[in-house]
């Protein structure tokens, strides 16, 4: 039986003016509709339209937060413009990412990548975090450009490149200074180790070994880099174990 959309009219009207502490009982109908929408394309499209309408002006922060939580579950490319419009707003940026990060369409990643160039520095950190979570290779160029800038952004950018671990990401990390100051070098080393582990897990032992050997060579003879040398040596030994296990 088709979902009766008229049952949502009053709850959605209530939602538009909702603030924390108000009666949330009407939300049960909306929650039920979101669950039903997984198996009902027409309902999903209608819900998404009504939700994105609510993200515009005139609704409360609490209402926008609720809507973002629901779009995290059912949002599609249709939701992306309305969510992207909130990315630069410090009150709502995180909840816009809360939805966008989990919506598995390229438009969502593009919106985050585009916002990375325009939002304030504190919010950029969030964009980087969400792009890392999406392992979006399209943002590698933008992240690479951040490696030589402010540590506030270079550190999460390095971490993100380690999460993405595409060929371009690995190359960018290899070209970066593993001994850069203010925590950046440590993040680069951590990211390169993460890349090597991902290669190992994927059976790409030669690629993993190349990273470990490069790190060991870079750290060799540097008293302050014993930890790097140790981690790289451990990795080289793990690669040897992998060869032994395969033979």
């Amino acid at each position: 039986m088709p979902f009766d959309l008229t049952t949502l009219d009053e709850p959605l009207k209530t939602l538009a003016a909702y603030d924390w502490g108000a009666d949330a009982a009407p939300f049960k109908a909306i929650d039920a509709a979101v669950i039903a929408a997984h198996a009902d394309k027409a309902l999903r499209a209608e819900l998404e339209k009504r939700f994105t309408d609510l993200l515009g002006g005139g609704t409360t922060r609490a209402a926008k937060e609720y809507v973002c939580r629901k779009l995290m579950m059912i949002g599609t490319a249709t939701s992306v413009p309305a969510l992207a419009a909130l990315l630069g707003d410090s009150d709502n940026s995180h909840m816009a990412r809360f939805a966008l990060e989990r919506i598995p369409v390229p438009e969502a990643g593009n919106a985050l990548n585009k916002a990375l160039a325009t939002v304030s520095e504190p919010l950029k950190v969030g964009m980087i975090s969400s792009l890392a979570a999406r392992r979006d290779p399209a943002c590698v160029t933008a992240l690479t450009a951040l490696l030589k800038g402010s540590p506030l952004l270079a550190i999460p950018a390095a971490n993100a490149l380690g999460s993405i671990h595409s060929a371009e990401a690995v190359q960018a990390l290899a070209a970066a200074d593993p001994f850069a100051g203010e925590g950046v070098g440590e993040a680069i080393v951590n990211a390169r180790l993460a890349c090597a582990e991902a290669f190992l897990a994927g059976g790409k032992r030669t690629d993993a070994l190349a990273i470990y050997q490069a790190l060991a060579k870079a750290a060799s003879g540097k008293p302050d880099a014993k930890a790097v040398e140790l981690a790289a040596t451990r990795g080289i030994l793990t690669c040897a174990d992998a060869v032994a296990a395969a033979s």
Partner: protein, 429 residues
């Protein structure tokens, strides 16, 4: 203004270097701090045998954990950290009273604690939404970690925590003190082979957490509210949102989805942990998650089950009339049915070196670099079950899990719930 997490890294690396230099080629990683009692006495081991510790999240469970570590002569307890002034001051007072000095640092921000080079290990007992971030940061800072259960809030966090522990060679113990201690009535006969192969397990425990719609209250001056929220969505202060009591009915952080998995993962960590240990499933993760909808007659509520690769089925809140006769049971919470076929006995895993509790197990492992009884990998495996069940309830459908990819098969809706975006500047990448 809080600093980004990775700002702890420089100190972490210096510490890692010093530790690495001191311990390379050796089995033990001893602390290098020299205290006033460096040589020890009749009741206190020398500093080289003591683990220097700090605690993060020092109310309720953190208080108990602190007490357990403070009472060990092989622990030197030097710092507490809590965003609440009351817990912080009480935690410092307990440590200072123990040692008869004023030396215990009382910190608000965990990054300050992790940046201290003299600390070997930390215990973490914050709300669950902080567990992964703090554990990974601690590993990167060269600290061993005793982490309260439930170790994870999302399925995505677990592999990242395991990777951090392994990458930095850290001992990371999960924190259910009950798994080995409370369930011997089912553990011993099952490991002795007395019920044959385990066919089904029934667990009775509360359900998942819920959304929080509590009203705003004035933020009291004795809490750093922004740091309490951390990676969770910004919400106004309400005492019921952040109280650390053990209830899950709406007046504690354990009730709410942004901070906890509810009873299902809170008490569930004990019950699922005990049952999974009893059935020797700790190395496994379920492959199937089955949603059993409520019966049309209104008499049978919805319930869930998971199936492990070896065929064992584990049920959450299956109605009593649908359960098989149990072979063994733990109170009303866990019922286990075996096939009764002959099976060889196996020795029950124990805490290391004869230690009598999980705290001693952790300290022993911190000294000897062994993996603890509730090693983070086993803890993560255990917690996958209630997390999957929670997703099944939320979506009201059955799911199939692919362990290799850590994804649900052919269900993008379920995969959206594997993790959640963290509020800037927090990240676990």
């Amino acid at each position: 203004m809080t600093k980004p997490l990775a700002d702890v890294a420089p100190a972490a690396t210096r510490r890692e270097f010093l530790r690495a230099a001191a311990t390379v080629g050796a089995a033990a990683a001893a602390p290098y701090v020299i205290t006033s009692k460096a040589l020890g006495d009749a009741t206190t081991p020398p500093a080289s045998d003591r683990i220097v510790m700090g605690g993060i999240g020092i109310g309720n469970m953190g208080k108990g954990d602190q007490g357990a570590f403070l009472n060990r002569p092989d622990v030197q307890y030097v710092a507490v950290c809590d965003v609440r002034q009351k817990w912080r001051e009480e935690g410092k007072a307990r440590a200072d009273a123990k040692y008869g000095n004023q030396d215990c640092a009382a910190l608000i921000d965990f990054r300050e604690l992790l940046s201290r080079d003299d600390i070997d290990a930390v215990h973490i007992a914050t709300p669950d939404h902080w567990h992964a971030i703090m554990t990974i940061a601690a590993c990167r800072s060269g600290k061993d970690v005793y982490l309260q259960k439930p170790e994870t809030l999302t399925l995505h966090e677990g592999p990242l925590m395991i990777a951090a522990a392994r990458r930095y060679g850290r001992v990371v113990s999960g924190g259910s003190q009950r798994v080995l201690g409370d369930y011997r009535g089912i553990v011993d006969p099952i490991w002795a082979g007395e019920i044959g192969n385990v066919k089904s397990i029934d667990i009775s425990v509360g359900g998942p957490s819920m959304p929080c719609y509590l009203p705003a209250q004035p933020t009291p001056p004795d809490i750093d509210w922004d740091l309490w929220l951390g990676p969770a969505p910004w919400e106004p202060f309400n005492s019921g949102r952040c109280d650390g009591n053990y209830g899950t009915g709406g007046n504690s952080w354990r009730s709410y989805v942004d901070y906890s998995g509810g009873s299902l993962t809170d008490w569930g960590a004990h019950h699922f942990g005990g049952a999974i240990f009893a059935a020797d499933l700790r190395e496994l993760q379920p492959t199937k998650v089955t949603y059993h909808p409520a019966a049309a007659d209104g008499k049978t509520a919805a319930y869930m089950s998971v199936t492990y690769p070896n065929g064992t089925e584990l049920f959450h809140n299956r109605p009593a009339h649908l359960r098989p006769a149990p072979s063994v049971a733990h109170q009303g919470a866990i019922q286990v049915a075996g096939d009764g076929k002959p099976r060889a006995a196996k020795p029950v895993p124990q805490y290391r070196n004869g230690e009598s509790n999980i705290y001693g197990d952790f300290i022993e492992c911190a000294k000897t670099r062994q993996r603890p009884f509730r090693d983070i990998e086993l803890a993560v495996n255990t917690m996958t079950t209630p997390h999957m069940i929670a997703i099944g309830y939320r979506l009201e459908r059955s799911l199939t899990w692919d362990r290799a990819s850590q994804q649900f098969k052919n269900d993008e809706g379920a995969n959206r719930l594997l993790d959640r975006a963290r509020r800037e500047p927090w990240s676990i990448s």
